[in-house]
């Protein structure tokens, strides 16, 4: 027997909630301080340089943006594919999609050389630029997911939920294709220039977004004393396992494809074997921590039904996701440009032919964590003022609307 799901705001007046807000506020303030420090002194105070122009802030920003699109997954499954068992979580899914995107864009904006020129980015568009398309896609995402949430939360609008859900689903597929294409369209660099980047980013978004969503749902239930039934939890964790495996499949295809083409063998040797920290992060971070270990934890006979093991698996997926994006962004830039095929570069004033060096600084991490702070501060505050979260996620609870 299923019954209508009831939603309510969280109380948000206990010491744990206040501590959470203070902690997140501190993260945001430190992020803003780091941004000011970087903008005031110039980017030479960071580890970024003229070879590695995109660094740790971009790793955070792209992770959050990719995860934003994936966090919408649960809502899409409910609205677009008609799986009512996911409906109680659909509002939360939409909310987290918005807050993750806000956090990611905050980091991206504050890392610009001239963040004060935001108005130029909003008004002067080069429609041939995938980057400019992304600005439109991100803005549209806020509007469409906002409307989608409205149709879910306003009783008179519920009849439009399926339509809004479909629009949001299509939009987010395009959005993540656009994010992947930021790299896929870069023909100049051996590490990018691959159209598989677009679908790979989509599947990465499914995995990272669901991992974040799972942890937020578990911790919200813990913090508010609301029940999280086994059935709901196992359904989500099984889905996460499928996505983790799918990411590994895409990664395998991408690297095998590159290894097959002689012109890409250099960059593959670099990423897979000779890239130092990049190679370590690929095998240790992306493959082991982000792929193999979560799969063992999620499907292992001794761990698959353990809540702590499931939470650990989600944390590992997130850590592995950061490693994967680090390998893509930093590794792709660190491998030298192939400007002179057939020649060895014996001397160059601009590090020609040399692997780019990059040592991230504290300020870059603080800016990145500032974006994480923005995401969860917005989430926590929204949960207090609007009924996003169901009163119970116990097994058998389903939405009738």
């Amino acid at each position: 027997m299923s019954k209508a799901t009831s939603f309510s705001t969280i109380k948000g007046d206990g010491p744990n909630y206040i501590t959470l807000l203070v902690g997140l506020g501190t993260l945001i303030l430190m992020g803003l301080g780091a941004a000011y420090y970087m903008e005031h002194n110039g980017h030479h105070v960071t580890g970024m340089n003229n070879q590695i122009v995109w660094g740790v802030p971009h790793v955070f920003a792209i992770f959050l943006i990719v995860a934003a699109s994936g966090a919408l997954n649960v809502a899409s499954i409910a609205s677009v594919f008609g799986r009512t068992e996911y409906k109680p979580l659909a509002r939360m899914s939409g909310l987290l999609a918005l807050t993750l995107l806000a956090g990611g864009l905050t980091v991206l904006l504050l890392d610009l050389g001239r963040p004060d020129r935001l108005i130029i980015a909003m008004t002067m568009y080069n429609f041939k630029s995938i980057f400019a398309w992304n600005i439109i896609l991100y803005s549209g995402f806020f509007v469409i997911v906002g409307l989608y949430l409205w149709t879910m939360m306003q009783r008179s609008m519920v009849k439009y939920t399926k339509m809004a859900g479909l629009a949001a689903f299509i939009w987010r597929l395009v959005l993540t294709s656009g994010t992947g294409s930021i790299f896929g369209f870069l023909v100049a660099r051996q590490g990018y220039d691959a159209t598989i980047m677009a679908p790979m980013f989509i599947i990465m978004s499914f995995s990272f977004g669901l991992a974040v969503f799972l942890l937020v749902v578990m911790s919200t239930c813990n913090g508010t004393g609301r029940e999280l039934g086994d059935e709901t939890l196992y359904r989500l964790k099984n889905l996460l396992g499928v996505f983790v495996a799918a990411v590994m499949y895409f990664v395998t295809v991408k690297h095998l494809g590159n290894l097959y083409a002689a012109e890409h063998s250099g960059v593959e040797q670099f990423i897979l074997f000779k890239g130092g920290i990049i190679t370590t992060l690929f095998w240790g971070g992306q493959i082991l921590v982000g792929g193999i270990l979560p799969l063992i934890l999620l499907y292992g006979s001794g761990t698959g039904k353990s809540r702590s093991a499931i939470a650990t698996a989600a944390v590992l997926v997130i850590l592995g996701g950061f490693a994967q994006i680090y390998v893509i962004i930093i590794g792709g830039q660190a491998y030298p440009l192939e400007i002179f095929p057939g020649y060895d570069v014996t001397g160059g004033a601009f590090f020609d032919g040399k692997v780019g060096e990059y040592t991230p600084t504290l300020a870059e991490f603080l800016l990145g964590f500032g974006g994480v702070g923005v995401t969860f501060m917005l989430t926590a505050v929204a949960l207090k003022f609007l009924p996003f979260f169901p009163d119970s996620l116990a097994s058998g609870e389903e939405s009738s609307d």
């Binding site: 110039g42 002067m124 600005i135 870069l186 440009l337 002179f340 057939g342």
Partner: protein
């Protein structure tokens, strides 16, 4: 009622004046930047450079020094973050061991990827083929640096000093070789070409690729030359001989 009418008329007058003033400012601002640079450029021309690597000496960097002096981009001793508008690169043939030296700068592509990827149109190509950055519109996203196959662009990481009046620079924006537009527009040669002919081995030829009778076109008709990463189809305006 009369007062209300007067006030309304007064308000409309002031609002109109303010609108005209703002609009004029916007127009002046726009024409002072990209539009001005574009209108000076002659669309019938396609400026190009020919570099004869056979004569380029690995020990000579007259072109680099001249560019720094002309455009005021001397670094502060931090090689990873210092700007680079032009650099010398030394090469060794992997099969034969033969060595080469050549300057590399913005290749002023016919189909520039930096212009394609720039979200704000700050990267643009003049009608005469020179690729520039409008520093008023650059937001410092560095996507053009990611997209350039030649490593020709750099980001201004530190506060600028010793700026030249004809070449404003700004921290937090991207910059690269302008082919000395300020000199070309006055009918002079780019600083690197001039220095190469007076202090170096005179291996750089500048001219109009569209003019069949220009010195550069005559030489290009005689000798086999190569464009860097010709496989990418970017049609650079910089050509190399002897590579």
């Amino acid at each position: 009622m009369i007062n209300a009418d007067l006030n309304r008329r007064d308000f409309l007058q002031k609002a109109t004046t303010a609108t005209v003033a703002v609009a004029t400012g916007v127009v002046l601002y726009q024409t002072g930047g990209t539009a001005n640079a574009a209108t000076r450029a002659d669309a019938t021309k396609r400026w190009g450079l020919l570099i004869d690597t056979n004569g380029c000496d690995a020990g000579c960097d007259a072109c680099v020094g001249a560019c720094k002096d002309e455009n005021g981009w001397e670094g502060s001793g931090n090689p990873t973050t210092d700007p680079s508008w032009i650099r010398k690169v030394n090469l060794k043939d992997k099969r034969t061991g033969a060595t080469k030296s050549l300057p590399v700068m913005c290749q002023h592509c016919e189909n520039p990827p930096c212009v394609d990827v720039c979200p704000t149109t700050a990267s643009f190509k003049r009608p005469d083929g020179i690729v520039l950055v409008d520093r008023h519109a650059c937001i410092g996203c560095r996507y053009c640096i990611m997209a350039c196959p030649y490593g020709a662009r750099s980001f201004v990481h530190e506060p600028t000093k010793n700026q030249k009046p004809h070449m404003p620079r700004g921290m937090g924006t991207v910059e690269s070789c302008t082919l000395c537009t300020h000199r070309i527009d006055e009918g002079r040669l780019p600083a690197c070409v001039e220095a190469c002919s007076t202090k170096g081995n005179a291996v750089m030829t500048f001219g109009d690729l569209n003019d069949k009778n220009s010195d550069i076109s005559t030489q290009l008709a005689k000798h086999v030359t190569q464009r860097l990463r010709d496989d990418l189809g970017l049609e650079p305006g910089v050509l190399y001989g002897g590579l």
